[in-house]
Structures are given as structure tokens and as C-alpha cells.
């Protein structure tokens, strides 16, 4: 009886095996994404369908006669059954047609594209600023957590997280924009990024207003992630070998601390989007937030549906990419199902 040598098992997370695992992860994520998007589309459509107020009534305003409003309803197709309107819309979205605003007959895609030129840079700027503020501050607060300085940073971050964004915006306008006259207090160039410096100037204050609040939240995550790392035995080992603390933190600590932060960043993106609605209103920026507010007021249902759907998809894709990324980066996180 011969005993066959046990097959050599590759440890998980290496070579071909790892590549397949990544592919499987991505496939799983994609399935979840598609199912979530379908659910989101039904939810969005359903909520807007039960929203009181009618687009025909808004278009007619206080001047229209009941006959005019009835004619508008027919013209807008509001008298068709719900399921027909849903299929019509989702079919269009799947083929890349986001529909046409019934109010000014402009394609929603073009409108959204124009608005994203304001909101995306605003969001990216705010995200970058909050990370640049939060990471060093959080790490220092963790390393010096026993000192008064570290404790006051922790307290201060708690406090600034509680200040509403529009208050921060007003404070920036009064303390920075008016005295220095360096930044406009409202608006965005009508021809968008034709003059990048001018466009950027218009975004600095609004982005700062969002970033301060967001970074305050982020600081606490960075701080606790870093404290977590500092408690690890390998840090003690590194220190015992004579490495200076900053070297241990930079070479090994950061990669370990970064993993939970990736997940938090995914949530931050949704937070920044919400913050932009308020900030766009305050600084009169023609962005997606203002567009949704106006569309809801005007009951421009097609436009709201498509915009919300695109935003939902964007946030979901970002979050899932980040989750997938941290799974790939960290073999310790496994799918549980």
C-alpha cells in the first residue's frame, strides 16, 4: 500500500489562488451591486410616486385653469399606469438614456453632467482636505493621547463634528471672504472650468466648510485606529529593535491602520454628498444638490429619479470598490457567506 504524498496546499492569498479569490470577490460584489441597484430604483420610483403634489399643477402654477392642468397631465404622460412609467424609465436608464426634463425639455444627462462639474470637484476637494487634516491630527492625537494636547484634540474634534455645515460656511464667509476679498461668497463661473483658477477659488470656502465637519469625524477614527496599532506587539518589537516610533508607524503602522479607514471613507462619500446639498444652497453653487432641491420643488419627477439613481449608483460603486479593496489588501477579512 503506497501512501500518496499529501498535495501541497498553497496558503490562501498567494499566486493563482489569490487571483481567483479576487475575481470571485469582485463577482460577488457585482451581483450584490446589481440587486441593490434594482432595489434602489424601485424604492426611488415608489417614493416619488406617492409624493404629494403634481408636476402639472406646478407647471400650471396659480395661473392655470383646471382644463389646462388636465391637458398638461396627459401631455406629460402622468395619466399612464405606474408600472408602465417605471418600465419606461428603467428601460431608458439601462440603455443610457436618463430621460428629458418635462419642464425645459433638456436631457437630464446633459443637465447632470453640467452639475457634476461643480459637485464632483467640490466633493473630491472636500474629501482630500478632510483626509489631509484628519490623518496627521489623528495620528498625533493617538501618539500623545495621554497629554493635555492629545486630549484637547479629541474633545475639539467632538465639538467641531457637532457644528452644522451652514454655520461653518457663514463663519468662513464673514471671517475669511469678506475681510480678504480673496474668495467669492457665492456662485460659480457660468462657463465652468474655462478658467480653472477662478473655478477653484469659488470652491475653496464651500469645500473647507464641508471638510472641517467631515475631518472632525475622521480624526476620531484615525485616532482609534492608530491607538489600536500602537497596542500591537509588533510595534513593541520594532521599538525594542531600536526603531524610532515614527518609522514603525510609517512603515508598518499606516498600512494596518489604513484598512478600517478605507471602510469609513466609503461612508464619508455619502456624508460629503449630503453636506454639499446644504453648502451649495448657502454658496449658491449650481451643483447636483441644488438641482435635486429645485427638481423636488418643481416635481420634475424624471429628473429626480434619474439623478438620485445615478448618485445612488455612484455611492454604491465607491463603497463596494473600497470594501473589495480592503478585502483584497487584508487576507484576514473573509466573506462570511
Amino acid at each position: 500500500m503506497t501512501i500518496a504524498p499529501a498535495p501541497l496546499r498553497m496558503p490562501a492569498g498567494h499566486g493563482l489562488f489569490r487571483a481567483r479569490r479576487v475575481a470571485a470577490e469582485l463577482f460577488n460584489e457585482a451581483v450584490v451591486l446589481v440587486v441593490s441597484l434594482i432595489a434602489a430604483s424601485i424604492l426611488i420610483f415608489g417614493l416619488l410616486a406617492v409624493l404629494p403634489g403634481d408636476q402639472a399643477a406646478v407647471m400650471g402654477g396659480m395661473d392655470a385653469t383646471p382644463e389646462q392642468i388636465e391637458a398638461l397631465r396627459t401631455q406629460l404622460g402622468l395619466d399612464r399606469p405606474l408600472w408602465e412609467r417605471y418600465l419606461d424609465w428603467i428601460g431608458g436608464v439601462l440603455t443610457g438614456d436618463l430621460g428629458t426634463s418635462a419642464l425645459d425639455s433638456r436631457p437630464v444627462a446633459a443637465e447632470l453632467g453640467e452639475k457634476l462639474q461643480v459637485t464632483l470637484p467640490l466633493g473630491i476637494l472636500a474629501l482630500a482636505m478632510s483626509v489631509f487634516i484628519a490623518v496627521p491630527v489623528g495620528v498625533i492625537a493617538a501618539v500623545r493621547r495621554e497629554t493635555t494636547f492629545g486630549k484637547s484634540i479629541a474633545a475639539l474634534s467632538q465639538l467641531s463634528a457637532a457644528i452644522p455645515t451652514f454655520v461653518l460656511g457663514l463663519v468662513l464667509v464673514v471671517l475669511v471672504a469678506l475681510p480678504t476679498r480673496l474668495f467669492p461668497v457665492q456662485g460659480f463661473p457660468a462657463d465652468r472650468w474655462a478658467d480653472p483658477a477662478e473655478a477653484l477659488r469659488a470652491l475653496i470656502l464651500p469645500a473647507t466648510a464641508i471638510a472641517i465637519g467631515q475631518s472632525a469625524v475622521l480624526v476620531r477614527f484615525v485616532r482609534s485606529a492608530t491607538i489600536d496599532v500602537l497596542m500591537k506587539e509588533w510595534v513593541r518589537t520594532g521599538l525594542a529593535q531600536g526603531w524610532p516610533l515614527h518609522a514603525v508607524l510609517l512603515r508598518q503602522g499606516m498600512r494596518n491602520a489604513a484598512l478600517p479607514l478605507l471602510g469609513v471613507l466609503g461612508l464619508e462619500i455619502a456624508g460629503i454628498l449630503m453636506g454639499s446639498v446644504i453648502v451649495e444652497q448657502l454658496f449658491a453653487l449650481p451643483g447636483v444638490g441644488g438641482m435635486i432641491l429645485a427638481d423636488v420643488g418643481n416635481r420634475d419627477i424624471v429628473s429626480i429619479q434619474s439623478t438620485l439613481f445615478v448618485l445612488t449608483a455612484l455611492v454604491m460603486i465607491c463603497t463596494m470598490t473600497l470594501t473589495a479593496l480592503s478585502r483584497v489588501l487584508d487576507p484576514r477579512i473573509r466573506r462570511t457567506s
Binding site: A57, S105, A177, G187
Partner: protein, 500 residues
């Protein structure tokens, strides 16, 4: 809470400005108009679409009327009828035939010359049965519109209509090309002194002078309307020099900027009424005594103070600048005791009412009303809804008890003659008076009838008219030539200039 923050910021801003103002030009000589410049104006409401032939709304009227689109006649700031695309007109003795001499050499913004066919087609479209024009109801008396030669248009009426000329200054009278490739929803094609430069949706709308305009060229190089929703942002934008004029501000902002040397704060007339509407099909409100009681329970003088003082008492659906104005402020004087007595007489000592209101108005107004009515034993529940919901529930479906809305149409008085209007106010006498007024043979005769309407609805307490808000315009010292009266529906910008 938010208000407090906003005013703190404003005050801080004002202090900052006072502190750091470099006081340009020591000599305070009268500003002289310099080279034409672009004027930046903050207005409140953004249009939802640019199509004046189908879209209603004050935001659109403000931008377009007399600036981009014109009718055969135009409306001056003091409500006088001015020649526009018609150089002259005559009205027949019986008031049924209007003959207009149409101006020659008028060009549409797309470069095509305006012909008599365009004039006829535009007016036929807006007066046709089933027209989608927001002002179509003003054209009800029009029977035919015909061209008798290349420069003459004759409008024949089925019955007299003393308001026809004024109606022709609204969107029902605008002349647009009979056939054009321009999509009017997102572009413009009128005959006015300005043409659309760019509509940066959600932020600005700019107009540039139209080179081939038939009349006097604008004194400025164009205007930019800024749609800044936040009042504080608007005030700081003025202080930061980003806008030149704030067309309509709250009492708070006006008070703050009044003190600053570099701004002029001007009060203008407005034709609007903050109206407490009663549903005349809802049981206790069908009783005149109950309506009268509700009116007498609300102290209008105090209410005006509560909102900052920028309003006048009215007492009926006219304002002092109306030719048919009547002073009816004593038709329901503030008297809670009398109100309680009236309610007792009507057997309504424990009345519960719901006040449905759009969230566009300051909640302090409705809270004040509820508190005043509570004093006389009327329990008011305030139901705040979005404007779109209000339009559907209250305005279209008439499903309400009490409602409050700002009526801005100068012709609102005539709606008391329309039982189908959302109040369901059905009064044969009012209907006859309104019809007589429309068919009056002279403006004086019309005004006489409208005065009777105003008196009648006040006596009958058809609604309560809480106050008429005044418009306040704030502009830089160097600005001149800007309208201040009734600017929410007639805002001609071609005369505005700015000195360096």
C-alpha cells in the same frame, strides 16, 4: 435658530465691512454714468422653463417681460400703456374693435424679420380655445384677430374688455415667430432689447443687448440675474461687490444695510396681498359671522410689526396705488371681544380649523394667526406643506379649511367673481360687478365697479387680507435707473446704469 445665526453673520459682516472699507473716492460728488457695464442683480425666483407661451411664474415674467419679449403694447413702471411693437392704435366707439399699426423693421433675435403673420399667429394662439398660455384667461373676450394689410392688425372682441391693452402686455400678448427652429423652453426668440446670453441653471441667467433692436439700445452692457436663495448669502454678495442690486430683501436685511454709506435702500410699491383664504364650501366658514369674527380676532398692526414692519394694512383686495382703491381697513377692526360675540351668535364657541400653508412663508406669520385665533377660542392646527403639495391639495383640489398665500396678480380682485376659483366664493353680486367692470366703457367706470367689488368682499369677509408687503430694493450708491415699483412682475432693466 437659523435666523439668529444669519443675523449674527450679517451684523458681523457689516462690522467687518465698516472696519475695512477703504472708502474709495474721498469726494462724494454725484455718480456719473460711466461706460456701459454689466449689471448683476439678485432676484429670488428662478424660472422653471424659458417658454413664455406655456410657463407661468413670477420668476419668468420678471426676466422676460419687456426685456426679451414684447407685445403690441408695453407696460411702464407706473402702469401706463406704452407703444411697443405697435406704433399706434385706435379703439372703436363701442369698444369692440382695436386697430393696431404694427411697427416696421422689427427683427426677431434669430435674425428673421417680424411680419404681420407672426403677430396674428401669436395672438390667435394665445386667445384660442384650450391655449396653454399662462395668461390665456385674460384673452377670453377676443373673438377674432386679423390682418387687414401688411402693417395693420385688428382685434375684434365678443364683448367689451377695458383691460385688453394691459392683457396684451402680458405673456398672452408677446409676439413670437409663427414658425421657428428655436426651442423656446431653453432658448429665447423675442423682439425685446435683450436676448438670452446664457442660462446657468441653478445659479444665473444672463441677458445681452440685442444689436438689431428696433428701439433705444439698453444703457448697460447686459444684466446677470443671480438666483441666490439664501438671504444672508445675498447680503454678503452685495457687500463683497459680487452683485449690484438686491431686488427684494427682508426687513432684517434692509434695516442692516440702511445704515451703510455705500448702499441705497429704496422702498417700492407692490401689488400683492398676504391673503387668509376661507373655503366657502366648508361648513362654519359659510357663515359670514364666523368669517368676520376670524378677521376681527387678528391684530394686523401687530402682525406687521412682527414681520418687521415692511408692509401696509389693507382691509380688502386693493392697494393704495390701485386706481380702484378703497380704504377698508375699518371693515373688520381688531376687536377680540366682538369676535367672541360673533362666534357665540353663530354657535361656534369651540371651533377647530386647519390652516394649510406652503412652507415658502415665514412660520412666524401663521403662528401669530394661530395665537390670535386661540384668544377667541378658535383652535387652529397649522399644516405646513411644500408649495407643490399646496398647489395640488389647496389650489387645484380645493381640499382645505383655511389657507394663507401671497396673491401677486394685480387682477386678483376679479377672482372674487369666479366661483370656480379655489376659495369657491360664490356671490352673484360680486360676479355681476366683476363682469360689468371688465365690460366698462371707460377706465373710470371700471374703477367704480371694482371699488364696489372691493367694498362688497370686505363687508362679506370673503377672505382676510392680512397685509400688503412692500418691496425693498438695495443697490450700490453708483447704480441708477433701476425700477422699484411692482418689480415682481414688471422689471425693465434696460435703463439701469452704474457709475465707476
Amino acid at each position: 435658530m437659523r435666523k439668529t445665526f444669519a443675523s449674527t453673520a450679517l451684523i458681523l459682516g457689516g462690522l467687518m465691512l465698516a472696519g475695512c472699507a477703504t472708502t474709495p473716492a474721498a469726494g462724494t460728488s454725484a455718480p456719473e454714468p460711466a461706460a456701459p457695464q454689466i449689471i448683476d442683480i439678485r432676484v429670488g425666483l428662478e424660472p422653471t422653463s424659458l417658454d413664455v407661451t406655456t410657463t407661468s411664474g413670477a420668476g419668468l415674467v420678471q426676466v422676460m417681460r419687456g426685456n426679451v419679449y414684447e407685445g403690441l403694447v408695453g407696460l411702464g413702471e407706473d402702469l401706463e400703456i406704452l407703444p411697443a411693437l405697435a406704433s399706434d392704435w385706435t379703439v372703436s366707439e363701442d369698444g369692440l374693435t382695436y386697430t393696431f399699426t404694427v411697427r416696421e423693421g422689427v427683427t426677431f433675435h434669430d435674425g428673421t424679420p417680424m411680419t404681420i403673420d407672426d403677430v396674428v399667429a401669436s395672438l390667435q394662439a394665445s386667445s384660442a380655445e384650450g391655449s396653454m398660455n399662462p395668461d390665456a384667461k385674460r384673452m377670453g373676450s377676443v373673438a377674432t384677430v386679423e390682418a387687414t394689410d401688411d402693417t395693420t392688425v385688428v382685434i375684434t372682441l365678443a364683448q367689451r374688455d377695458i383691460n385688453l391693452l394691459e392683457s396684451l402686455t402680458t405673456s398672452a400678448g408677446y409676439i413670437v415667430p409663427a414658425a421657428s427652429a428655436t426651442d423656446l423652453a431653453s432658448a429665447t426668440n423675442g423682439t425685446g432689447p435683450y436676448t438670452l446670453d446664457q442660462w446657468n441653471r441653478g445659479a444665473t441667467l444672463s441677458l445681452e443687448p440685442f444689436d438689431e433692436y428696433w428701439g433705444e439700445a439698453p444703457l448697460n452692457d447686459g444684466v446677470v440675474f443671480h438666483y441666490i436663495a439664501d438671504e444672508t448669502t445675498a447680503a454678503t454678495a452685495l457687500q463683497n461687490g459680487e452683485v449690484d442690486i438686491l431686488a427684494g430683501v427682508t426687513a432684517e436685511t434692509a434695516e442692516l444695510l440702511r445704515g451703510a454709506d455705500e448702499f441705497q435702500v429704496i422702498e417700492g410699491d407692490s401689488t400683492s396681498w398676504m391673503t387668509l383664504g376661507f373655503n366657502h364650501t366648508f361648513a362654519p366658514l359659510t357663515d359670514q359671522r364666523v368669517r368676520q369674527a376670524l378677521r376681527q380676532a387678528i391684530d394686523k398692526e401687530e402682525l406687521i410689526q412682527v414681520i418687521g414692519g415692511q408692509a401696509i394694512e389693507v382691509g380688502t383686495i386693493t392697494v393704495p396705488t390701485d386706481a380702484w382703491h378703497v380704504d377698508a381697513t375699518d371693515s373688520a377692526p381688531y376687536d377680540p371681544e366682538a369676535a367672541r360675540k360673533l362666534l357665540a351668535e353663530a354657535g361656534q364657541e369651540n371651533l377647530n380649523l386647519t390652516l394649510t400653508v406652503s412652507n415658502t412663508y415665514d412660520t412666524i406669520i401663521t403662528e401669530f394667526i394661530a395665537a390670535e385665533l386661540a384668544e377667541v377660542g378658535v383652535n387652529v392646527t397649522i399644516d405646513t406643506v411644500e408649495f407643490a403639495t399646496w398647489l395640488e391639495d389647496v389650489y387645484t383640489n380645493k381640499d382645505f379649511e383655511l389657507t394663507m398665500v401671497l396673491h401677486v396678480d394685480p387682477a386678483t380682485i376679479t377672482y372674487y367673481g369666479n366661483p370656480g376659483y379655489y376659495w369657491s366664493y360664490d356671490n352673484a353680486e360680486a360676479q355681476k360687478l366683476v363682469a360689468d367692470a371688465r365690460q366698462a366703457s371707460s377706465a373710470d367706470a371700471r374703477d367704480e365697479k371694482l371699488r364696489e367689488v372691493a367694498d362688497l368682499v370686505a363687508k362679506d369677509s370673503a377672505s382676510d387680507w392680512l397685509y400688503s408687503p412692500q418691496t425693498v430694493v438695495v443697490a450700490g450708491k453708483g447704480l441708477a435707473g433701476f425700477p422699484v415699483d411692482r418689480i415682481s412682475n414688471n422689471f425693465r432693466v434696460s435703463g439701469i446704469t452704474v457709475a465707476e
